[in-house]
Subunit: 377 residues, 2 copies
């Protein structure tokens, strides 16, 4: 018998098992965001976003350097992205919510790449044409800008539409990356297609595109989920060789699945809340969610629940209760056994549905304004 | 000892040895252009270009289908290209000269791709930036349009400038091509860079781009030198899978090097005549050229020379004497030993210099008109 308790796998195309986030960071030379760094951020932002306070955004590469440059009067820009393959879930919003907050606090430009070719190339099981993926990606863009980005400081671009600017730069990156390197980094084989082999070059470009555009070096900060770090493990040195600043990175954990998995699986729709879910769907999914509660109401009252195992508690923590005091009360009630599963779930479902109602109102309001954000060649 | 008389190698990145053109065609399922096909062409063109008469353009894929469609009222367009890496030689003009003639006779559109990233990715020994290659490629374009293309029916595009249109289509091609396939076809290894691995997808795009633009299937004819056939051995089936006509191809032999090699080597400048060569350089190179003549003037008068081994004769045949009767006279004089090397060479040098003088005058005249030909995103 092999002891598998710690086994997990994270790469750009697959996340499996229970992720050990500290171990992952250590393995790849990523630093944890410590108290000193939190204080340095807070010096500029006054408050700290709950995603940082709760160490959901928990690690980084050279975030200290980004702050050094900022303090020297050399502000950074932010680059993040979303590879469309279908509707967005709450988990997909985490990086964008942090980016929105960083833009508000540091008043910086945000570049959002929509690599509408990535899943087309890498995930044949999608069974969608490039045009179909491009079309659904507009809906993703609406979900993103509904969070409240500044139109005058936010540039969103689709790879298939913006390749006139990007391909030339991607070629420069690609020249420095061998098949051997991407084979190891992404798990490619001889049967991988030559589009997915090339793709990481396209993902690298926005990390120095502003420097290209402005003809001077501009620091770049990339908030991302840890499975995307591999692209920049490959590209950071190359970007340095091209004469640009290596981008800094902030790493978020995954929003866990409602079944307790580290990352919701897109093939199991019931393990995640989608932004398009109806109130009934939300109630149903939350009712089925894993809780940390005991087998019976009596035992729960007597022994209390486990907040780490309770996905209801975790969903409040990751997204739905930004107020730390209120979150503490919820956790306390769960631990003390005073909050029973039924009520616990019903309250979260109501909270989520209130969020989704507002989100979708914002989204509708942005429908006519989407062109203010989108760059075309 | 290994018997190497027949050994040669042709792929997109390397041509070595004495090419057996018929064997090459047979090996890859390419058909020879026979008398029946020549007659079918002549039905439309009245005359036959000397490159066809002399079987320099000697083979094809589905040229008969192109003529079928043309005769049904479904005209084709022509696609060819030039990967810039430096100044152009006479040999580089062969496909363009045929294309110019086909455009004149069939009155069809011509797409000319300038893949300014190809040599940057594949030939690091060039030691040029992508921008430097792009800049020199403008000079190549002037050499091409100096031949006399119709501006209203000729579209020239650089990959780095036209990727906004091309990348999206290249992605669709790339999805159907595995590393395994390009490894075998182009001799790539795990150390090949991911840009050159992807590149063949970009070269495939213009073979169906007009169909994409017009929203209907347009037959495409690609005149090319045989070393480029490999790109379409890979891409033709893929283009078919995407729902477009597979392109037809016409194959040219290489203009031989002045030293008698099958293809002039770009690392040995003296084995080719460049369009930028001065009259003195031309004289010097031609003086050094291999001839089929005997060791002494006496022996030459007695035994005569070998026109197949005489590069002076071959240069007349490949480009500098379009008139078959005059060519026959030159060949006869060589065979009979009545034309001695010195005079033979001096006459060719004069002919080349007259051509280059006129060519460079045409080139200068096109300098202000180049924008009429170039497509940008």
């Amino acid at each position: 018998m092999v002891f598998m308790a710690e086994a997990y796998h994270v790469d750009a195309y697959k996340v499996e098992g229970k992720v050990d986030y500290e171990k992952f960071a250590k393995q790849y030379g990523i630093k944890l965001i410590d108290e000193a760094l939190e204080k340095r951020i807070t010096k500029h932002t006054k408050t700290l976003h709950f995603l940082l306070r709760r160490k959901i955004f928990y690690a980084h590469r050279e975030l200290d350097w980004i702050l050094n440059e900022y303090e020297k009067g050399n502000p950074f820009y932010i680059y993040t992205g979303r590879a469309p393959s279908g509707p967005m879930s709450i988990g997909h919003l985490l990086p964008f919510e942090l980016v929105r907050w960083l833009q508000e606090k540091f008043d910086v430009d945000v570049y959002i790449q929509i690599p509408d070719e990535e899943k087309y190339l890498a995930k044949k099981s999608l069974n969608m044409t490039l045009e179909q993926i491009h079309d659904i990606s507009y809906d993703n863009v609406l979900d993103i800008i509904a969070l409240g980005f500044k139109p005058e400081k936010t540039k969103i671009f689709f790879d298939t539409q913006y390749a006139g600017k990007m391909y030339k730069e991607a070629v420069k990156v690609a020249r420095h990356i061998t098949f051997s390197t991407v084979k190891d980094a992404f798990g490619f084989t001889n049967e991988s297609n030559i589009g997915q082999i090339f793709y990481t070059s396209m993902q690298a470009v926005p990390a120095f595109l502003k420097s290209v555009e402005e003809g001077r070096n501009v620091p770049c900060l990339i908030p991302l989920a840890i499975d995307q770090d591999v692209h920049f493990r490959v590209a950071r040195d190359v970007i340095g060789k091209l004469g640009y600043y290596k981008p800094a990175i902030m790493h978020t954990k995954f929003m866990p699945g409602l079944n307790g998995e580290s990352k919701m699986s897109s093939s199991e729709e019931n393990t995640a809340i989608y932004l398009k879910d109806t109130p009934e769907q939300v109630k149903k999914k939350i009712n089925r969610a894993l809780t940390g509660q005991q087998a019976t109401a009596e035992l729960q009252k007597e022994l209390g629940g486990d907040v780490d195992k309770c996905m209801i508690c975790q969903y409040y923590k990751y997204f739905f209760e930004p107020d730390d005091k209120k979150l503490a009360e919820i956790f306390k009630a769960e631990k003390n056994g005073t909050l029973l599963a039924g009520e616990h779930k019903a309250r979260l479902a109501d909270t989520i549905n209130a969020f989704l109602k507002k989100h979708n109102q914002n989204k509708e309001r942005m429908r006519d304004r989407v062109d203010e954000f989108i760059l075309r060649d």
